[in-house]
Symmetry: C2
DNA sequence: CAGTATCCGATGCGATACTG
DNA sequence: CAGTATCGCATCGGATACTG
């Protein structure tokens, strides 16, 4: 008997669809490709997916040989890594991004705006190596228009790492960044330019010249925007 | 409220997944890409999909602007054609095929063998222009091992067209082709070579030299095999 | 923290029948 | 021929709670 995700066709397209044309699956793979390998990190990339469902999806990928699950090097739990076959799904997922970027230029829906998802994405792509300081430094984001609890975020650069906090870590802030949630999201995914957002006054950078001017060097945009 | 195929994410990958990560959708698009544009023809490519579901999928594609539906030029009903945006899904679907071809080399399951799907695919890729005859010609396929009712097929070449019949059209047969269903399927999708299948004696061509020798010229393999 | 187990409701989708 | 309408069950998947 045919399982629910099977098509009963020998066509290779159908075989791939049995893996990819399943709810959440492309997003799980996107997360794995983007370098998250702990369960909790993966979850942050798909916050609306229940943990049990994420677990079963990962199991399918593991059983099919596209993900390898190993005991975590540090801490408890496991690490999930794409196998070579799994990594080869990368170009497909990238094309998803490119295609949407080209052909779905409609406005981002309000319900798709998500401060924590945005900040998590941003943090992952910050280039700490190009952040012009050698001591610890702190950047505060303020997403105007977001709910109070998700309005302020702090990124702490330290020893080449960038950590994201939802609570004020208490350090002195070196750079203040303020923007409406929508504007920063649109910049992030490449729908509008940094310079345009600055000119319009929506995106505001407040801090020492050195940090403001180098902003585009260490604030990297999403993969599809680049 | 989020609809069932939506993810609530601004990420372009998620936006494409809302279209493509839906059951049957990649196969419907594959059919549209491969040149079927009548409802019935589309159905022949996804025989296990119910017509009502095919209908709703087509409607989604139409409403999203990836398919255009026009009154049929001949006969009743409509023609479904991909828009430019829809056609741009072609490379993605092709990569599905390539990826499976590279990474899913497991044996074709028995339940995936389907004589009518195979013959329909084959017919669509026959190159009538390279079939070496100027009058009407007839080729009989015998799929040994298939159920009696799907065992024999006839292709009639006439005026540069190739027609597929499940019933003996009564013409004199110019070329007899015989093969186990599995062997012909594997040749078709590129898992094994024509010459290998001939040498092993599984694929047998019986007819005038001219037709036998030119077989690879007009019997074209699936897109992913090429 | 890193997942699993359980529950239950919504709905996706397959089957069948029907209609212009 | 070219689809639509209806029905009903299976299952998908979201929510919650729980455990090592």
């Amino acid at each position: 008997m045919l399982k629910h995700n099977e098509y009963g066709q020998f066509c290779p397209v159908a075989k791939t669809a049995e893996i990819l044309a399943v709810k959440w699956m492309p997003l799980v793979i996107r997360e794995l490709l983007s370098g998250s390998f702990r369960f909790n990190d993966l979850q942050r990339g798909v916050p609306l997916m229940s943990p049990s469902l994420l677990s079963t999806r990962l199991k399918v990928l593991e059983d099919s040989g596209f993900v390898r699950r190993n005991p975590a090097k540090k801490g408890r739990g496991h690490e999930y890594h794409l196998t070579e076959a799994g990594k080869e799904l990368g170009p497909i997922v990238e094309m998803y991004g490119d295609w949407a970027q080209t052909w779905l230029q409609q406005k981002i829906a309000d319900q798709d705006l998500d401060p924590s998802l945005l900040m998590w994405d941003i943090r992952r792509n910050l280039d700490a190596a190009h952040f012009p300081t050698d001591r610890r430094a702190s950047v505060q984001f303020e997403l105007t228009g977001a709910k109070a609890k998700q309005r302020r975020w702090w990124v702490v650069f330290e020893e080449g790492e960038a950590d994201l906090c939802m609570k004020d870590p208490g350090h002195e802030v070196d750079l203040y960044i303020s923007s409406p949630l929508r504007a920063l999201t649109e910049v992030w995914i490449g729908k509008r330019s940094i310079s345009g957002a600055l000119k319009s006054g929506e995106l505001v950078l407040d801090g020492p010249r050195k940090l403001v001017d180098t902003f585009p060097n260490w604030f990297l945009l999403s993969a599809t925007a680049r």
